[in-house]
């Protein structure tokens, strides 16, 4: 089985890697590149824990082939904070206690950023539907929704 | 005298007795009293059931004090999730 050489950009950094043709981007991120912030909850696109962006578009990295990353720009949870400064979304999730176990949190960081980048002032319903692909079993979503609303307000103010 | 109560499944080892009075000042003494009266019951209690002394549920009590007006209940161990 010949491995494929891929040139890509991850969180703004030019990156190259080798992968199997059938290997998912999630497996590449976690196993080849040791970027374990992106989590695997199901590997079938049903939980959102592996959410990343490809050319700014929100996707489940378990449903993307590593090889497809060629020439694309990949965004992961590791790229959300601005250096040593937390992103407002991260700050608000902490302030609102919008995480308990924290396994779904990386996916929610990426998905929420994608949402607010596209829609800076979403309604509660818009937030709930946009994040419907990010399962959380601990919080009952209440504090997550409030954190997103607060983050949106902060980002609009900023 | 402290009042001691047995759940249904322990009464098989107390000749059907559901409750009794015991003149003891600690759970340790109670165990000795019970074992003397119902040989073998200690092995059914230690590590097998939880105990409530005056409403406080304890797993594996031993030196815990028992007052003359105390109520002691044996119950299934609960750990939870």
């Amino acid at each position: 089985m010949s491995r494929i050489h891929v040139d890509t950009t991850i969180n703004g950094v030019a990156t190259e890697f080798l992968c199997e043709p059938q290997q998912s981007l999630l497996e590449v991120l976690r196993e080849e590149l040791k970027l374990t912030g992106t989590k695997e909850g199901c590997a079938t696109g049903d939980c959102g824990a592996c959410s990343v962006t490809v050319d700014g578009r929100l996707v489940c990295s378990c449903l993307v082939l590593g090889a497809e990353a060629q020439g694309r720009k990949i965004g992961t949870v590791e790229g959300i904070a601005d250096g040593d400064k937390l992103h407002p979304i991260q700050q608000k999730f902490l302030e609102h206690a919008a995480l308990q176990c924290g396994i779904c949190t990386p996916g929610l960081m990426v998905a929420t950023k994608a949402l607010l980048d596209a829609n800076p002032d979403p309604t509660e319903e818009e937030i709930r539907y946009y994040l419907a692909g990010n399962l959380c079993r601990c919080t009952g979503y209440d504090k997550i929704i409030r954190a997103v609303q607060d983050a949106a307000q902060t980002m609009r103010g900023a | 005298m402290a009042r001691v109560f047995f759940p249904e499944h322990l009464t098989q080892h107390t000749n059907g007795i559901r409750e009794l009075d015991a003149d003891v000042s600690s759970f340790r003494e109670l165990l000795q009293v019970l074992e003397r009266r119902f040989p073998g019951i200690e092995s059914r209690i230690v590590g097998k059931v939880a105990v409530a002394i005056d409403g406080d549920i304890i797993h594996d009590p031993f030196l815990d004090p028992i007052a003359s007006d105390s109520e002691v209940y044996f119950l299934h161990r609960i750990e939870g999730g």
């Binding site: 079938t44 990010n134 | 609960i78």
Partner: protein, 755 residues
């Protein structure tokens, strides 16, 4: 012991100490750890729900390039029967070992029969395909009725029903029975003006934690193993793995990773001993991670149940008698949560006469594990639904009916002892006053009320506190942090020591670095481990007083501790300046070395927890779809150390309970194969399914905890099932007894009522 006091930091809502790592992706969870030379393990699982294993041929797989080890049941030591002295449903070590790797029989679809370790997951998968297993397929026993039928196929021919006066003549799928009674139940029903009865069923459901079970294990030639894994209790992983592998406890070190949810499902072991054995055979570190499919098929879901409940009451609502027949599926091995289910069902009420019969029943499904208030949601769903029917029959407000029979301090619980201070009536009053209780309902809408109860647990905990040279504080404890417990520990340490919260850091240490501590479960961490942290802090304070006295050259009796400082008692040399924790830490080399506080305890008196929930639903009568428009959770927390995380437990439990009520269930085909082993078709609630969850924390101090804490983690999942069912009843006029209230079932019931 509990002082009525004003708190300085307890009750505030600071950011959790581990928060930043969890929002940046830095936090390491079970599957995030790797070692050089590490191999990937995969498990071969039974394709049959019930089959005799005739033979397993692993030769071909073992020879494949890239395959380093293959193990089957034969590679594990035979473990003798020995009761696990845990809590309910802890079972037997022999069963635990057989569940981890099948021996003569495969007892459920997905039961592990072999495992391989290879250079890559792909090679491991190919190796599994090369293992040849011969099965003699047996009839699967898939539910209570089938398992308890006279001619039922026996899952374990050597199993005789326990709990009967004498050993029965024939083996049975009923592993155990239990009985609880008070008074004369027949007389009680005879005294009743109204008697209601109902049969309620709940399906097999899963905890649904988002992180699959995962571990990395390595063992050296000297037989010393290290395991990194996501677990609710690394000390239990150590002791259970030692039993299953016949090792010394001291030869296994378990290092807990961050844990991506557990809810009781990560209080036992699955892959850890397998990974250790594969490491032993291959001489390499092993990573073993379950797929989501494996989590559903082969971890520990919660019991499906059948509960037949009968209640008798006077016209004024006074309950005269209650009875319950409870059947709990244990899965393939004995040990369901039947006992706590029986102990909880009538716990909130004063019942002069009752009779409860519980049954722990084997079926060809995965062995159940604990799931948040194990056993209580199922039995209390039945009782709280029937109480709703009783209230309608008597035309009494459902909260008033519960209030009339509610237990309070001094009442004898149905499970035995008298209650200390409890907050059930306060919860009921709060519910009655709550604006959501009187909110107008639109067409097709309904409101339901239900109560919840859980004992909460104490048990063993240890804590150490180190005062660092700059006066900052390090707390070392042994409970994996699943829901913000580091924050609660830091708050309690800061409160006791009178230092700012930010100067306290909390380490969850491994089995060789922290004192023995029971699982993160049973709602015990903030109560029991919190108590240990407070005692450790008081140990520090005592030492500080001695050292300050020594520094000042006065007797220890001449000094006091006040707001984080040692001060001389009035009358003692007025020149003396108060010494802060930092001052004393700085001087510690001269006063006896590092400041180290310790506590280990077996906590007694976990305060009983009560809740009252209100569900507000809308039912689409053309499709049977139930929409939850509002939900209100009211619960007695004793004392909320970090209110945000208490609310979080209440909200999360509410939504888990609503999932249980509305859509979640294991769907099996006739061969006993689960049809929906994935998040797509298991259907846990998603964000757009749910409204905001309103919470109200009641604080009736638990007298046995220094700050009044009682557990909060489990009670929240108990009441939502009946609250939702009662709301659907209110909206449609139709009572549906079986969960889940999925659209096909609701529509069927509505059509039946219409025709």
């Amino acid at each position: 012991m509990s002082e009525a006091r004003d708190f300085r930091v307890v009750g505030t809502r600071p950011i959790r100490p581990d928060g930043v790592d969890k929002v940046t992706g830095r936090a390491n969870f079970g599957a995030d750890f790797s070692l050089p030379g590490m191999l990937y393990a995969q498990v071969l699982r039974s394709p049959h729900a019930h089959a005799r294993i005739v033979s397993i041929d692993t030769k071909k797989a073992a020879k494949m390039p890239g395959v380093f080890a293959v193990v089957t049941g034969a590679d594990f030591p035979r473990v003798g029967s020995e009761e696990i002295t845990g809590g309910e449903g802890a079972g037997d070590y022999r069963d635990l070992a057989t569940n981890i790797m099948a021996r003569d029989k495969a007892l459920y679809h997905g039961h592990a029969v072999a495992a391989v370790a290879a250079v890559s997951p792909a090679v491991a998968a190919d190796a599994l395909a090369a293992i040849k297993v011969k099965y003699k397929v047996l009839t699967p026993v898939m539910d209570l009725d089938a398992a308890m039928a006279d001619d039922a196929t026996l899952i374990d021919e050597t199993l005789f029903t326990a709990g009967l006066p004498e050993k029965p003549a024939k083996p049975s799928n009923v592993a155990a029975v239990m009985e609880m009674k008070r008074g004369d139940v027949e007389k009680g029903f005879a005294q009743a003006d109204v008697v209601v009865e109902g049969t309620y069923r709940t399906p097999t459901v899963h905890q649904g934690y988002i992180e699959p079970h995962a571990c990395v294990a390595t063992i050296n030639q000297g037989g010393q193993a290290t395991v990194w894994c996501c677990t609710q209790g690394h000390f239990d992983v150590r002791s259970a793995s030692a039993k299953v592998l016949g090792m010394n406890v001291s030869d296994i070190r378990v290092i807990p990773s961050e844990i991506g949810g557990g809810f009781g499902g990560k209080t036992t072991i699955y892959g850890e001993p397998v990974a250790i054995l594969l490491s032993k055979k291959s001489g390499r570190p092993i990573k073993l991670v379950m797929t989501r499919d494996e989590v559903f098929r082969a971890s520990g879901p919660a019991s499906a149940t059948k509960c037949v409940v009968k209640i008798g009451a006077k016209r004024d609502g006074t309950i005269t008698a209650m009875s319950a027949w409870l059947g709990y599926e244990a899965g393939a091995f004995k040990g369901s949560s039947m006992a706590p289910g029986a102990m909880c069902i009538f716990a909130p009420y004063n019942v002069p006469n009752f009779l409860i019969r519980g049954h722990d029943v084997l079926v060809n499904k995965p062995k159940v594990a604990a799931y948040r208030a194990p056993g209580a949601p199922q039995s209390m769903y039945a009782c709280e639904s029937l109480l709703d029917e009783l209230a309608r029959k008597l035309d009494i407000d459902p909260i008033d009916l519960r209030m009339k029979n509610a237990v309070e301090e001094g009442c004898q619980a149905a499970y035995g002892p008298k209650f200390n201070a409890i907050g059930f009536k306060q919860c009921l009053e709060a519910a009655k006053r709550h604006p959501n209780y009187t909110k107008a309902l639109g067409p097709g809408e309904g409101r339901g009320v239900a109560a919840g109860f859980w004992f909460n647990a104490g048990m063993q905990s240890s804590a150490e506190i180190h005062i660092n040279e700059d006066g900052t504080v390090t707390v070392i404890e042994g409970n994996p942090d699943i829901g913000g417990s580091r924050a609660s520990m830091a708050l309690m340490a800061a409160e006791e020591l009178g230092v700012p919260y930010e100067r306290v850091r909390v380490q969850v240490a491994d089995t060789e670095s922290a004192g023995y501590t029971n699982v993160t479960g049973g709602s015990r961490v903030t109560f029991a481990t919190g108590m240990a942290v407070i005692h450790a802090a008081r140990d520090i304070i005592a030492q500080c007083k001695q050292r300050a006295a020594a520094t000042w050259g006065v007797d220890a009796e001449m000094v006091d501790w006040q707001d984080g400082k040692v001060i001389p008692k009035p009358g003692v040399n007025a020149e003396l300046k108060p010494l802060t924790l930092a001052d004393i830490a700085k001087g510690s080399p001269r006063t006896g070395g590092p400041l180290l506080g310790r506590a280990s305890l077996n906590a007694r008196g976990a305060g009983a927890g009560f809740s009252v929930n209100m569900a507000h639903v809308k039912v689409d009568t053309e499709t049977g779809k139930v929409d939850v428009l509002g939900f209100t959770a009211i619960q007695d927390a004793g004392k909320a150390i970090h209110p945000s995380y208490v609310e979080g437990q209440m909200q999360g439990g509410a939504v888990q309970g609503l999932g249980w009520a509305l859509n979640e269930e294991y769907v099996y085909n006739a061969d006993g194969v689960m049809q929906n082993a994935g998040f797509l078709d298991y259907r846990m609630p998603v964000a757009s399914d749910m409204p905001m969850i309103d919470t109200q924390i009641i604080e009736v101090a638990n007298p046995t905890h220094p700050y009044g804490v009682r557990g909060v983690g489990e009670v929240p999942i108990v009441a939502p099932l009946a609250a939702a069912a009662n709301a659907v009843r209110d909206a449609t006029g139709v009572r549906i007894h079986d969960l889940p209230l999925s659209p096909p079932r609701v529509l069927e019931a509505l059509d039946a009522a219409r025709s």
